[in-house]
Amino acid sequence: MALSRREFLKASAAAVAFAAAGASVLNPKVSEAGDAGIKWGKAPCRFCGTGCGVLVGVKGGKIVATKGDPAAPVNRGLNCIKGYFLSKVLYGKDRLTKPLIRKGDKMVEASWDEAMTLIASKFKESIAKHGPDSVAMYGSGQWTVFEGYAALKLFKGGIGTNNIEPNARLCMASAVTGFMTTFASDEPMGCYDDLDLGDTYFLWGANMAECHPVLFSRMIDNRLKNPDVRIIDFGTRRTRTSQMADQYVRFNPQTDLALLNAIAHVIIKEKLYDEKFIKKHVVFKKGKENIGYGLEDKFKFTDDPKPISFDDYKKFLEKYTPEYASKLSGVPAAKIVELARLYADKKRKVNSLWTMGFNQHVRGTWVNNLVYNVHLLTGKISRPGENPMSLTGQPSACGTAREVGTFTHRLPADMVVTNPEHRAKAAEIWGIDVKRIPDKPTYNATEMFRALDRGDIKVLWSQVTNPFQSLPHLNRYRKGARKGDGRFVIVSDIYPTKSTEVADVILPSASWVEKEGFFGNAERRGQQWFKMVDAPGEAKSDLWQTMELARRLGHGNLFPYKYAEKEIFEEYRKFTVGGKDLAPYEAYVKARGLRWPVVNGKETLWRYAEGHDPYVKAGEGVKFYKNKKDDGRAVIWARPYEPAAESPDKQYPFWLCTGRVLEHWHTGTMTGRVPEIKRAYPAAVCEMHPDDAKRMGIKNLQKVKITSRRGTIILPVDLNGRGKAEKGNIFVAFFDETKLINELCIDAYCPISGEPDYKKCAVKVEKA
C-alpha cells in the first residue's frame, strides 16, 4: 500500500493547487491577473474636511480597494489611517438594509412604502395640528450638496418652515458667523497652498496632527524645507501637534479672548500695525457685551453693531496689557509680547489656523473676530502664504451646510431668510411664491432638540448624523426624544447608532460611493463623484428619501428632475453666480476638485486678492468686496474677554474638554466598524495631568468617575498618552458610543453663532 515517491509528489501537487484555488475563491482580492478587472473611480474621502482625493477600486459590484489619489492636489496619493480603510466603513456586518418601524420596544422590518407612508402621515398630521414649525429636519456636513439642497428646498420652499439645521451648527457655526461679521462672506480667503508658502503658523485650539493629518504633514514638510518656519501651538492641552510644534503655549481655557486682544494691544502699542492697510481696508465696530450663554430655552440674541474709530479701538485695548492677559491666561507677559512681535514681523508670512478650540466656544464668534483683527491690523491677509484659515471637520461642512446654507437662518450662497431680496431670489429660482419662504429663523441645533424635548417640535428627521451621541447635555435630549405625546423621530443612517436607538422609524441609507455626490472641503474646493456600487439591501440615498417625502406631501413639483444630482447642482449653481461661483457640473466631473469662485473656468486660490480673485479690480490690491455695507472693508471688532458659561469651582474643580483622535471620526459609527481601527484604539480614556492624579492617589489606567452637573461617566485614566492634559484639566474623546461623555457637556452656546461649547465645563473626578 506504500505510495511510490512519484505518486506522493503528484498527490501533494494536487493538494496545493486545490488549496490555492480555494483561497482565491474565499478572498475576492486575489484575482488571477493581479489588479485586472478592477475599475477605478475618483471620490473625495468620506471623513474630515481636508478633502483628500481617493481612488475607489470596484469589482463585481463591490469595492475591493481604495487608495490615495495621486492626481488629487490636496493629498497627492496619501491618506490618513481612516482614509486607508475607507472601503471597510461600508461593509460592517450590521449595515442597515431595510426600513424599520418601532412597534413597542421592538424595531420591525417594513417596506419603504409602509415606512414612507407612516412618515408622510406623521408630517401631515403634525403640520395640520401644530403648524409647519412642528416638523424639523436635522442634517449634516456629510450630506452631499444635492441632499442638503433638496432638504433645504423642501423645508423652506415647500413645507414652509425654517426648521432645518445641520450638525455643522455644532462644529463650524462660529467660523461662519466670524467670517460673516468680519467679511460679510463665509469661508476662508486662503487655501492649502498657504501651508507650503508661509513661514509662520499660529495654531489655536487645533490638533492638526491628529484631526487634519494630511494637512499637518504638509505644514511639517514646509518646515523641513525651510528651517526658518515656526509653528506655534496655542492650546489648553498638550497634543501631538504641540509635540511637533516649535513652541507650545499653554493657556487657561477661555482666555484666548484676552490673549488675542493682548497681542493686538502689543501690536498697536509698539506701532507694528500696517497703517496703510488699515486706512484702506478696515472699519472698526463694537457690539453688545455680556451677551449670555444660551442656557435657557428659547434664548434669543441680536447683536447691535456700532461703528467706532481706530482710537476708540485703541482705548478698548488699553485694558488688555500683556500683564493683564498673562494673569488671566497663565502665559508669561514676555511671551505674549514676543509672539505679538512674531505675528507682526514684516519679514514673516503669518498664518493662523484653528478648529474646534475656537468654534466650540461660548464666545466662538468673538474669538474668530479677534484672530481676524490681528491679521487685519498687520495686513497679513489675502496674500499667498499669509492668511487666517479655519479648518473644518466634516467633508462637506463648507460645501453643503455653509454654501448651500442648510441652517435655519440661511439660504444658499451666503443669503439669509430675514432679507426680503434674498427670499425673492430664492423664490424666483425655485419658481414658488415668495410668501412660501418664512422670514424668521426658528431654532439653532441645540434649540431644535430643546423644542423636541418641550414638545414644540413633534416630528424630527435626522439624516447622516448622530445627534443623540453628539449633542451636549445628552441626557436631556435623549430622554426628550422618547417622551411620547406625539413626538416622532426618524433617523436615516447606515448603521445602528445611539440615535437609531431613540428612533420611531429607521431608514437605511446609501453612503458615499453608493450614490452620486458632491462635497466641498475647507479650502473652498468642490469635488464630485459618481455612484460606483449599489447600496446593500434596500438602502437608498438620503436624496431619494427627501424627494420621496416631498412627493408624498404634495411638493413633488419642487423636484421635477430626471437626473436629480446634476439638475439640482445646476439649479443650485444659479445662486452662486456673481460671488461664490461654482463651475458647471461637467467641470467637476473632469477635475480633481475646483476652488470657488470659478469664473471662466479658472479657480480662485486667494479670495479678495488682486490677480487671484476675479472680483478684485486691477489696482485694488486687496478688496473685501462682499462687505458692501462697509464699502468693501473688513471689520475689526472690539470684543472683550468674558468668562466661560461654567468654570471649575470647589465642587467641580476640573475643566472637561472633549475632542477627537486620529483613528476615529466623530461618533465612531464608521471607524468603529473597521476592525483594524477598533483594535488600534478600542475605547475612550480620560487624560489627566500626572500631578493631579498623584495628589488624588490615582494611578495610570485606574478607573475614575467623572461627574458634572449633568451626568456621570466611568473611564480609565491615561496619564501618559498621546494627549497630555494640563493641571486642572481633563480630556475625553467622544467617539466611544459606550461612554457618552457628551452627557457631561454643558449645552451653553455662543449667542451669535449658536454653537455649543464642548471644550469647557466643570467636572469632578473621583476614584471609581
Binding site: I81, P213, V214, N700
Partner: protein
Amino acid sequence: MDSSTKHSGITRRRFLKDGVLLPLALAAAGGGVSTLFLRRADARGFYLRPPGALEEGNFLAACIKCGKCAQACPYNSIRMSGAEAGVAIGTPHIIARETPCYLCPDLPCAKACPSGALDRKLEDVEKVRMGTAVIVDRENCLSLRGLRCEVCYRQCPLIDKAITILPRHNQRTGVHSIMEPVIHHDKCVGCGICENACVRDKPVIVVMKSPPEQKDYYEF
C-alpha cells in the same frame, strides 16, 4: 498468614528489579528526555515574558508554573503555555498581537510571583525590559509610505521616549512629510502594545528579544 506474606512481603529480587532498577530506569528516561528539551527556549521562538522576568534561562529555572502572575493580570494578557512550548510548558507569556501588556503601574503580575522568576522588587514600569519593538517589515509600514498612520507611536505607553517621530520629506508628493516612527531600544520596554495596535494584517512592528544586530564593521 502465608498468603499475606506472599502478597505484601518483598523478596530481595523483586526489590532490586521493581524497587530500584525500574524506577531508576524510568527516572533516567524522564531526565534524559527532559534534558533533550533543555535547549534554550529561544531556539523554539521568542516568548514574551511578563514584566520583570529574569533572563530566559534563569526565568525557566525559577518559574514553578503556579499561574499566579496570569491570575493577577487584570487584562488577561498573561497566558500559560501548553505542551507545544516544550521545556517552557506551563510558563507565563504574552501574545502581544492578541492582548499586550498594558503596564499596570503597580505591576501586580511581578508582585504575585513567589519564586523570583519575575522580579517583584520592580517598581518603575519604564524599567521593565520584556523585549524591544522592531519594525520588521518596512515595506508594508503605512507610515513609512507617507500615510498618516503612526498608530504604534500614538498608542505607545512610552510615547516620545520609546518611539519618536522623525519627519522626512516625501519625495513622491513633494509637499508632504513622511512621519517615520523611530524605536529607541534603550527605552522600549517591550510591552507589545504597538504590535497589538498595528493596523496591518501581519503586524509590521513586533516585539523581539533584542533588536537585530547591526554591525558597522566587517568581521573576519
